[in-house]
Amino acid sequence: MGLNPFQAAWFTTTLNSMLGWGRKYSVFHYPYVTACCGMEYMSAACAHFDIDRFGFGWTRFTPRQSDLLLVVGTICQKQAPILRTVYEQMCEPKWVIAFGACAVSGGIYDNYAVVQGVDRVIPVDVFIPGCPPRPEMVLDSLVKLQKKIQKTDQDWRWKKKATS
């Protein structure tokens, strides 16, 4: 067979970088909006701030078609199993942003009903503080997420065959 090109280091790193470049500019997001931060998400997504400029154009209304889960708002204990189901329905690779103070830490709702941060339910990549966060902070977090996606060790179809 000779040299397997997929084991060549140069090819691997280049393909990894190329996949990261492709994935970071076509993030389909799924807004899981439960509270007032949804207004701020809408203003960030609409024409004034327009997250489409950064490659977050498509809002998908099913988790099965999306790469990025935006948890926007308060998650109460009763909502936690639903959020986990939604997260598990998403295909790999997937990322999560906790949007606003309630999603980050429970916010002002330190009580019997509210989950103290969605990272108690699902893994989170980027946290956006603020009550609600400014659209500029949303854009900043999206750029940070893009950097993270670019740096990630990407998973692709032939990789496991090559390494195993």
Partner: protein, 161 residues
């Protein structure tokens, strides 16, 4: 004030001995009644001369230091005269129970379920007395003052971030 005395005299005629105290803070008539006469008082208010045909709100207050710990508060509204009436009654700490108003107002259904869920007040005659906000497995009543304020009852096991 004549209208208010009308309401009171009608109540005294139809449900004698029900009203324990009256006051009028901020201009709204407030009466404290015996808990067992709630249903008769509410029915008398609904078709009485005051015209209090609307049940605005129904809630509970927990006073842990009082012997009669729970205070139910009912707000009635008369659309004809744009007047409000507040009815209060006091319930004991152990097994608080009061008559349900769902036969008179359908809106009382969910509000009584809320008071049952958060305070543990039982409403006798309610068709479907079940928790409204919290999940079914929840233990205790979270708005009681003796509920530990940091106590959490997760529905699913939470992960450690």
């Amino acid at each position: 004030m004549e209208e208010k005395s009308d309401v009171l005299s009608d109540l005294a005629a139809r449900v004698p001995g029900a009203v324990l105290e009256t006051s009028a803070p901020l201009g709204d008539l407030t009466i404290v009644i015996r808990p067992e006469s709630l249903f008769e008082v509410a029915a008398a208010l609904k078709d009485g001369p005051g015209g209090f045909a609307t049940l605005l709100d129904l809630t509970c207050v927990d006073f842990p230091d009082r012997p009669d710990r729970f205070e139910m508060v009912y707000h009635f509204f008369a659309l004809s005269g744009l007047r409000r009436l507040r009815v209060k009654l006091r319930l004991p700490a152990s097994e608080p129970a009061v008559a349900s108003l769902t036969p008179l107002w359908k809106i009382a259904d969910w509000m009584e379920r809320e008071a049952y869920d958060l305070f543990g007040v039982t409403f006798i005659g309610h068709p479907y007395l079940r928790r409204l906000f919290m999940n079914e497995e929840f233990v205790g009543h979270p708005l009681r003052k003796d509920y530990p304020w940091r106590k959490r009852q997760p529905v699913i096991p939470l992960r450690t971030p």
